[in-house]
């Protein structure tokens, strides 16, 4: 327990807020963590969401979504990071290691987004979609005015687990020298400085819990009122299709 108290003292020690030759300050480490998370999330969203919407809307390529999410769970993120850091060249105009790191973070962030978008659309009642077509909506209108609003809860659920996945993997990338909040864990482990290590763990945990809390709140707000009222009756529509997902809950992937 005293280690935890010492770790909090470490966190609140003003020495650790400026970057010196001895170490990175907490604000700089946090900024790096957020920049990497943001950049790779953007890449993952640009690829994962349209693909998931396409699969959910057309019903084509379901097996691709299921295989992708299972494979991402099985793939050890540390191994992928180690490999890409070794085999990819360093890009001169990017900070070192950015390219392999962002590729890995994005690759791991895509499956939950894909699954969220796809199962969100799958969870919409077929009759509602037929009704939308019957009143003369185009396919685009069906997608944007019916399917996306009704599936929004699961869509944001996918975003939520994607963000957590990326925050966790950014932390791990510190073991290979990337600066982030995980750096304190990596340095603490290397130097047997368990106070610093515990402080790093507390900082990363706080970031993950905060991000999850914010997204959980957003998730609650994007679900149209009519859906949350009727949701309890058909909670399990997305189940049995290879992706365990229920509205209002995050989709579970590996960390």
């Amino acid at each position: 327990m005293s280690l935890i108290i010492q770790a909090f003292a470490w966190i609140f020690n003003p020495i650790h807020y400026t970057t010196t030759a001895l170490g990175t300050g907490i604000p700089d480490a946090l900024t790096q963590h957020l920049i990497l998370t943001g950049l790779s999330l953007a890449v993952a969203v640009v690829i994962g969401v349209p693909l998931g919407l396409f699969i959910g809307h057309t019903g084509r390529g379901r097996s691709v979504a299921i295989i992708a999410s299972n494979a991402a769970r099985a793939l050890p993120s540390l191994g992928l990071l180690a490999l890409l850091l070794v085999i990819l060249p360093i890009v001169p105009w990017l900070p070192s290691n950015y390219l392999p790191n962002i590729i890995v973070f994005a690759v791991l962030g895509i499956p939950p987004l894909l699954a969220g978008a796809y199962s969100g659309l799958e969870s919409v009642d077929r009759q509602t979609i037929d009704a939308a077509r019957a009143i003369g909506m185009t396919e685009w209108q069906v997608l944007t005015k019916v399917e996306i609003p009704l599936g929004a809860g699961l869509l944001v659920g996918g975003l939520r687990s994607s963000v957590l996945q990326i925050i966790a993997t950014v932390t791990i990338s510190s073991l290979y020298g990337q600066v982030s909040l995980g750096t304190y864990i990596a340095n603490g482990l290397a130097q047997h400085d368990y106070v610093q290590m515990t402080a790093g763990a507390i900082l990363v945990a706080a970031l993950a819990l905060l991000a999850d809390g914010i997204l959980a709140t957003i998730q609650r707000f994007v679900v149209p009122r009519g859906v949350s009222r009727g949701a309890s009756k058909k909670r399990n529509t997305a189940r049995g299709r290879g992706i365990a997902a229920t509205p209002g809950k995050p989709i579970m992937e590996g960390n």
Partner: protein, 235 residues
């Protein structure tokens, strides 16, 4: 790929000097225990959560909070919380059992809640004690969902064990950082492929066990899926 290296280091070599095979055995034991423990613990806890609303909301929120923590954080917090030495393999087992339970508890709660109430009443009506009802009615009916849950647990556990090698607990993850330090892709590839092979073997064991223990499952669910598709086509 440098096949010669794999051949030369299969039974001895690498930093731990146990070779790829030795690391594979370490990996197997570190991942099997959390999967089994997570499964066994999730059954009573999931059953309890399915029966009591309070237990459900408390258990599910505690474990989903724990699941939010990144793996590296959990791996270094467990020894601090339990007062264990950081290189004690029990750290990896405890941390991964927590993750396994976090995933599995949701599956098992859903599994027991999906047993229709009239079936449970019928079991009571023909004179089953609650223990008999649990063993011969509820558990078999919950089986398919439990198997689906444990497959997810198994795959993610096998991949997460590798993180433990960075706090000094030997597993196939050793090959990742050794290969990274010496810029030697063959060693990293070997680790990735070995982890995937273990994941596939575990999955085959679980699905085969599921098919033997729950022979009614595969045919019934396929028929139900076909019926659902037909209903969708007609509607």
């Amino acid at each position: 790929m440098n096949w010669g290296w794999i051949w030369a280091n299969f039974f001895s070599g690498t930093d731990s000097n146990t070779g790829i095979w030795g690391l594979t055995l370490d990996h197997l034991s570190l991942s099997a225990l959390p999967i089994v423990l997570g499964f066994l613990l999730s059954i009573p806890l999931g059953y309890w959560a399915s029966r009591s609303r309070v237990a459900r909301s408390v258990l599910l929120s505690v474990f989903s909070l724990l699941y939010t923590l990144p793996s590296l954080v959990l791996l270094v917090v467990v020894p601090v919380a339990l007062g264990l030495a950081i290189i004690n393999p029990a750290n990896v087992i405890v941390a991964l059992t927590i993750y396994a339970l976090a995933i599995m508890l949701r599956s098992s709660t859903d599994a027991f809640m999906s047993v229709p109430a009239d079936i449970r009443e019928a079991a009571r009506a023909i004179g089953f004690s609650s223990w008999q009802r649990f063993i011969s009615v509820e558990l078999p009916l919950a089986g398919p969902v439990l198997v689906a849950g444990i497959r997810v647990v198994s795959v993610s556990t096998v991949s997460l064990v590798t993180v433990g090698s960075f706090i000094g607990i030997d597993s196939l993850g050793n090959l990742f950082h050794e290969g990274n330090e010496s810029a030697f892709p063959t060693e990293i590839w070997t680790g990735i492929v070995a982890v995937l092979v273990i994941a596939i073997v575990f999955d085959l064991i679980i699905t085969t066990a599921g098919r033997i223990l729950l022979p009614w499952n595969s045919r019934g669910s396929r028929r139900r899926a076909a019926k659902r598709e037909l209903a969708e086509a007609v509607a």
